[in-house]
Symmetry: C2
């Protein structure tokens, strides 16, 4: 059950009455799942928000899990494609520092807006992934593992190339932190205010991206923990305070 505004749902439903119910259901589910989590949203909630009958959801997607799966199917392809394009372009940047920044941007940008794709749902879909990740959703975990792993490796490789002195392990850690920061930024609504619909970088999403890129590039450039001194010196550095 959802406690939010009762009026918005009907408005939204009225806005796009019946041109394509299937799409409306997908959009509504995406929005509701990404702001409330999977289990907090009922099939009836989704149907109502889409101006549809609960039965329609079963008809189009068979089960609630099937609906979630279809949302992922819809977005993963385009987003990965966009990322690959941007990454390829970034790889061609000569200056190593500039290249690193371009790579990070190539990773971050599609997460905020997947370009020309589905109703500016880039940020919404990323928010969804963040929530599903936090909830440990199995359906999401599986599809992400088999869809994003290749792309992730490509990014890590590219970053590693532009930072050869940093061990791969640490690059993995820092990419992990980047993803966490990205997720949290999109999940916390009062910070990146709305970014609403339309694929544009409207709102202060642009600023959020720049802040994230700047901070992340610096974090990648941090000296590695295990100093690659002559032999592998492994001193226990700082006192634990």
């Amino acid at each position: 059950m959802i406690r939010k505004s009762t009026s918005k749902a009907t408005d939204q439903a009225a806005a796009s009455r019946k041109p394509n119910l299937r799409e409306a259901i997908l959009a509504a589910a995406e929005e509701l799942f990404s702001t409330n989590g999977f289990n907090a949203v009922s099939v009836r909630d989704i149907a109502q928000a889409a101006g549809a009958n609960p039965g329609s959801v079963t008809y189009h997607f068979k089960t609630k899990d099937g609906l979630l799966l279809e949302i992922y199917r819809r977005h993963c392809g385009p987003m990965n494609r966009r990322r690959s394009e941007l990454l390829a372009a970034a790889r061609r940047v000569r200056d190593l520092q500039d290249r690193l920044e371009a790579i990070v941007r190539a990773f971050v940008l599609p997460a905020f807006s997947s370009g020309s794709d589905l109703a500016g749902g880039g940020a919404r879909f990323t928010r969804l992934r963040a929530v599903m990740s936090a909830e440990g959703n199995e359906v999401a975990r599986k599809i992400i593992a088999q869809t994003f792993d290749d792309t992730s490796h490509a990014f890590i490789d590219a970053i590693h190339e532009s930072l050869p002195h940093v061990p791969r392990t640490e690059i993995v850690w820092r990419s992990h932190f980047l993803l966490g920061a990205l997720y949290y930024t999109l999940v916390t609504p009062e910070r990146v205010s709305r970014l609403s619909r339309g694929s544009a970088d409207g709102g202060d999403a642009g600023n959020a991206i720049e802040q994230l890129v700047r901070a992340t590039v610096a974090s990648f450039q941090a000296p590695p923990l295990d100093q690659p001194a002559p032999a592998r010196r492994r001193s226990a550095d700082h006192p634990k305070t």
Copy 2:
């Protein structure tokens, strides 16, 4: 409903049969909420994991929300206290670079293990906060707002003092990213493997902390976006591809 292992729940229940049911319920709820989200876990799940009767949950905490509230009440105090102590110590570090690192460590450490407090639940509680934040849980949002805001401001002030040339806004952004990275690290179980019970920094939690501190310190030290103009050359960089 939860699909996980059926055996573990009963084992755990048998382990601490009846010495303090109330505590057992709290611990079970913490564990289940933090790995599955709030709505995915039923009162019956919690009761079973704690070896208790569903009615006991109602008796001790009145409602499911009440149970969540009590979990927060239990942890917020000690964790904030620990953070304040570590922050105070960090502020006394002379060297600005070292001080920044100490401050970041003071923020991160209690999130992984709140010292001598409740059954090493530091990481577990942080994971819980991460999940509740992702799910937009209202109960959690309220109590966090009125409990953590002061501490957060103190940290931002301290960081600002050791980085006077970085505008406060950017420090806020970067703290935000830190929190996101921290949350995501604790939410993703295959990375920081288990850290299980016991307040010790066992497992590779220690490594995770060091990685996070190193990356975060560097991100704080990144040049701000709005250049105050001194040395740093900042051309209007790359084409947007």
